[in-house]
């Protein structure tokens, strides 16, 4: 069981999006979380001045599945069709560290006590990193909802925050009602429909072209960044083994040799931390891959509305021709047009603010990553130069 305590410098952790907690009327954060076997229990902490809530400050425990339920109900809500729906947080994935722990357990007999202790330490750090990441991503999801003028008023959002019992029952009902139907359709059909629809609005035409292309590029970049990060980790692990092996040689041999060898131990720090920096980059790309998808979903819904509107026109024409059901067709057409206009209007606003948000987040992350790389390279260099001096003085 792992848990993180009140983390005062959460600013560092919250890196993929800009600070969303600047509206004091509804402040949400996840100060604590517990990891039990496969399940992570998040403690959601809410501080609010809104009268719609019963208390002004309270906490509630939630599981990952609760977040998914909340996301899905929002997606299914017609009213929000013109908004970019914050992407659902991915499932907590402890597979990496868990596999490593398994290997560690199996290989325990073949390594020295120091090596084992060190690897265990590394493993715990990795576990903690995954943990922090998943907390952050769940937190950001809630904060995006709370900082959005429409979502923060959502009834289900309030239930999520306030309902003091287990949400499992509610979740089951929701599933039966919607069955995730709409969501699946969106995922599979969006590319085709978006590219097929004739666009009248220049803004949306540009956005469509941009989002379709950017989406595949950022997905690819994310995958490549992940591979790069994994390689870095492998190199770091190798350095760990090497320093362990060198230590055991140093222990057994004469002093002159020992001094020469033990100096090498220092440089293993290098890659370990380098991989941490890359994690920033990878996390940023991952998050925006999902966010871009959410933007595409918006385009899709609008495209569907446009298609509906065009169909309603055809229906109206047919009705006029036949002289039957004209009023009904007219009403339908009016509604479709209204819906389409509404989606276009809010869609434009959303997409514009999305771009601004994305640019700011990239800037912040790239700067932070670069500064850390520099700091770390400087550290490594001074350590290495110190080692060289020691070697020279012998």
């Amino acid at each position: 069981m792992t848990s993180i305590s009140e983390d005062s410098d959460k600013e560092k952790v919250r890196s993929v999006s800009v600070d969303l907690n600047n509206d004091a009327s509804l402040v949400i954060d996840i100060p604590d979380a517990l990891c039990e076997r496969d399940k992570v229990k998040f403690t959601i902490h809410i501080k609010t001045t809104l009268s719609s809530f019963q208390k002004s400050e309270f906490s509630v425990p939630r599981q990952h599945e609760d977040f998914i339920w909340l996301h899905d109900t929002i997606v299914e809500t017609e009213e929000y069709a013109g908004l970019i729906i914050p992407p659902a947080p991915p499932k907590p994935d402890f597979e990496g560290p868990r596999e490593k722990m398994h290997k560690l357990g199996e290989g325990e007999s073949s390594m020295t006590k120091e090596e084992y202790a060190k690897m265990k330490q590394e493993l715990e750090a990795e576990y903690l990193a995954v943990f922090k990441k998943t907390v952050q991503v769940h937190e950001v999801f809630l904060q995006r909802l709370s900082s959005h003028p429409m979502f923060r008023k959502d009834r289900n959002f309030q239930i999520f925050l306030e309902y003091d019992q287990d949400l499992t029952v509610r979740r089951k009902n929701a599933k039966e009602m919607f069955g995730g139907f709409f969501k699946n359709m969106v995922k599979s059909a969006d590319e085709v429909l978006i590219s097929g629809v004739k666009e009248v609005d220049e803004f949306f035409e540009q956005e469509k072209i941009f989002l379709l292309d950017y989406s595949s590029k950022i997905k690819d970049a994310t995958a490549k960044a992940e591979k790069m990060t994994r390689s870095h980790k492998n190199v770091a692990d190798d350095y760990n083994h090497i320093s362990g092996a060198m230590n055991s040689i140093a222990a057994d041999n004469n002093t002159a040799f020992k001094k020469t060898i033990s100096v090498c131990v220092l440089q293993k720090l290098e890659d370990r931390v380098a991989s941490d920096q890359e994690l920033k980059l990878t996390e940023l790309l991952r998050y925006y891959t999902r966010d871009i998808q959410a933007a595409k979903d918006l385009l899709y819904r609008r495209a569907r509305a446009l298609a509906d509107y065009e169909n309603s026109n055809k229906t109206l024409d047919k009705a006029r021709l036949k002289g039957k059901d004209i009023a009904q067709a007219e009403e339908n057409q009016k509604q479709c047009l209204r819906k389409f206009d509404k989606l276009s209007e809010s869609g434009k606003k959303e997409l514009t603010s999305f771009k601004a948000r994305r640019v700011v987040a990239f800037r912040k992350n790239l700067i932070e990553m670069t500064e850390l790389e520099i700091k770390h390279a400087k550290n490594s260099m001074s350590l290495l130069q110190g080692s060289i001096e020691i070697l020279n003085s012998n």
Binding site: Y214, K217, T260
Partner: protein
Amino acid sequence: QSPEAARLSAEDISPSSNGPRDDDPDDPDDLFAEATEEVSLDSPERQPILSDGPSPAITPVTISPRVDVFDRSPDLVKHRLSSCDGMNAYMVYKVMTKTSLSIFSRDEVCVKRRFSDFLGLHSKLASKYMHMGYIVPPAPEKSIVGMTKVKVGKEDLSSVEFVEKRRSALERYLLRTVKHPALLKDPDVLQFLESSELPRAVSTQALSGAGILRMVNKAADAVNKMTIKMNESDAWFEEKQQQFENLDVQLRKLHASVESLVYHRKELSVNTASFAKSAAMLGNSEDHTALSRALSQLAEVEEKIDQLHQDQSYADFYLISELLGDYVRLITAVKGVFDQRMKAWAKWQDAQVMLQRKREAEAKLQYASKPDKLQQATDEIREWEGKVQQGERDFEQISKNIRREVGRFEKDRVKDFRVVIMKYLESLVHTQQQLIKYWEAFLPEAKAIA
């Protein structure tokens, strides 16, 4: 140093000749005569891996492979390949020696040798000196797979790397051999370095009669080792032997870890390059101008970092990994020398047992009146008394030699590792310096995103 600094390829040579023949003035067809790449001793690519230290005699012995003109005259290549079997081609290495020692006939001499010549030299030295307790530096290992690719004319990077790896290993081998005061004066060594023609060492081939005999002897030795129970009276030997056993295990483990590092570093380089391309594409796709530029710059930085990783991985390999491989083989040679001492002891003991038997036989013959047999028995006693004395002398001599050799070995080992580790640390420092430079150049680009 990157192996791409030197241009290398295989020279195709007809199997019927007994040595490299392209300086043959009688062969007008040999357009390859002028194609030799002269690598000067001062050229930066040719720094020997081992320090040349205070050695007064042989200064950098450089080995460079012959250069073929494959890429410039493809027709001749075809012609050459069809007239002699690819598999019979062999690589020739140029060995340049610069020395001030009087035992050499010239100050500077340059000879051409093939891989089997090196193996032949080692084989001769081992048979001459190992049983005396001298640690004879082991020759580089054969690699059927690696060499085959080169022979069939594969010009890819792995073949190039293979040849460079071998060249470097052969150079280190020679440097270690001549560093040994006794081996340096050996006539076989001198001949190897100086004479232009060397008799082919056919017995080094793996599947030759001699090769099979070697394998059988090795097996027999292993069995003997198990059955000899030596009464070790000298604590130093017991301690040292244990020490070398431990060191063997530890070095192998370390070597394996370093090989893993080399592999993963190469992988990291590939993945970094791949990410760089992807980031460039993302930058192109990005419609916000400043962010687009920053992403392209990021891609360039990552490309440069990929090159850094590649260079670092060469250092990982050529400095550390190869050194460790050398030492794993050296430790085996050291252990071999301890085994030789055991054999000498066993021989001495066996002689003593034999002497005892002969004495008992003679005693018996005292009572049977067979005067010739008695004379023979007495002669045999004298013979075996001599053998016992010789056995004891040999045993003491080899023990003395080993003590001296081990002392020398340990001193050299410390020096070797120190030099290499120093070089490696410096390479790491250089990498960090470059990283700082690249990221500091990128930072204003990131900040410029507005």
